[in-house]
């Protein structure tokens, strides 16, 4: 399948998983999945990726919130200043 066709298919999968398809579009989409094993596999793997991103993302966010909870404001300000200085230096080195 051409890259452009994959982009269009990925958009369809996205609209399906966000429940944004019309009933007619959904029937067409399911027919397409039933007739093409490769596309079916791509759609299923995308769905699995999204489900796992929700889980991994939630785990990461919880850890970040915990880190924020135990950090006093002065420490946080020092961290932000340090990261900004590092980023500015890195930007300067790139140019």
């Amino acid at each position: 399948m051409e890259n452009k066709d994959l982009e269009i298919f990925d958009e369809k999968v996205d609209r399906y998983l966000r429940n944004q398809m019309t009933a007619k579009e959904e029937i067409e989409f399911k027919k397409l999945l039933a007739s093409d094993a490769e596309l079916r596999s791509r759609a299923k793997t995308t769905a699995l990726m999204i489900r796992q991103m929700e889980i991994v993302g939630k785990e990461k966010d919880d850890k970040i919130l915990h880190a924020l909870k135990i950090m006093i404001k002065e420490e946080f300000l020092i961290l932000v200043a340090k990261l900004s200085a590092q980023a500015k230096k890195s930007d300067k080195d790139k140019t």
Partner: protein, 188 residues
């Protein structure tokens, strides 16, 4: 094939703030045509607002990801800077949440296709995505960014370029996933 993520000494919060800087710095600079020093100031102000909001309990019951929330703070801070007034954006334009039942329809009707090892493999893959696919796939599928926003963040020419890159990243991820499953089946 993905390379294993390098383990840094930085803690998770530092890594999060670094990622948010790299994500939002380009986004606000391109969208609002800001000079570098102003974008830097806005990033720092956004970090402080993020911390203050957390301490005030505003992050309790957050429905979006922390990254989406941070981006909405950056946009609010930028508008405040440009207009001199606060113009709250609760979050990025809502692209619509993924439907758990639609995901379930695709996955759960095929128990043979999906076992615990498959789930663990995908868990590990999404946790270790390398850049730029990490930014693009997480930005789109988890943080609800549009293609225009991803193009601004990653400094791509336009949304179409970002869309092409997203599909390439997805193909790469699927290939990695299939290889892992194949290796597990044949015990390599």
């Amino acid at each position: 094939m993905w390379k294993e993520f390098e383990v840094h000494n930085d803690d998770l919060l530092s890594r999060f703030l670094k990622q948010e800087r790299s994500k939002n710095y380009n986004l606000i600079r391109r969208r609002y045509n800001l000079p570098k020093n102003i974008a830097d100031d806005i990033y720092q102000e956004s970090c402080i607002a993020f911390y203050n909001n957390f301490q005030e309990g505003k992050l309790n019951n957050l429905t979006c990801s922390l990254s989406s929330y941070f981006t909405s703070i950056c946009i609010n801070q930028t508008r405040k800077h440009l207009n001199g007034v606060r113009e709250d954006v609760d979050s990025l334009d809502d692209p619509g949440f993924y439907s758990a039942s639609k995901i379930g329809e695709l996955l759960d009707d095929d128990a043979e296709w999906l076992n615990e090892d498959d789930i663990k493999n995908m868990h590990d893959i999404v946790a270790m995505l390398p850049p730029p696919c990490e930014q693009i796939l997480w930005g789109f599928y988890r943080d609800g960014m549009s293609m225009e926003e991803i193009a601004e963040m990653a400094d791509y020419r336009n949304a179409q370029t970002a869309k092409a890159k997203k599909s390439q990243c997805l193909s790469k991820l699927i290939k990695t996933y299939k290889e892992r499953i194949k290796n597990a089946v044949y015990g390599k």
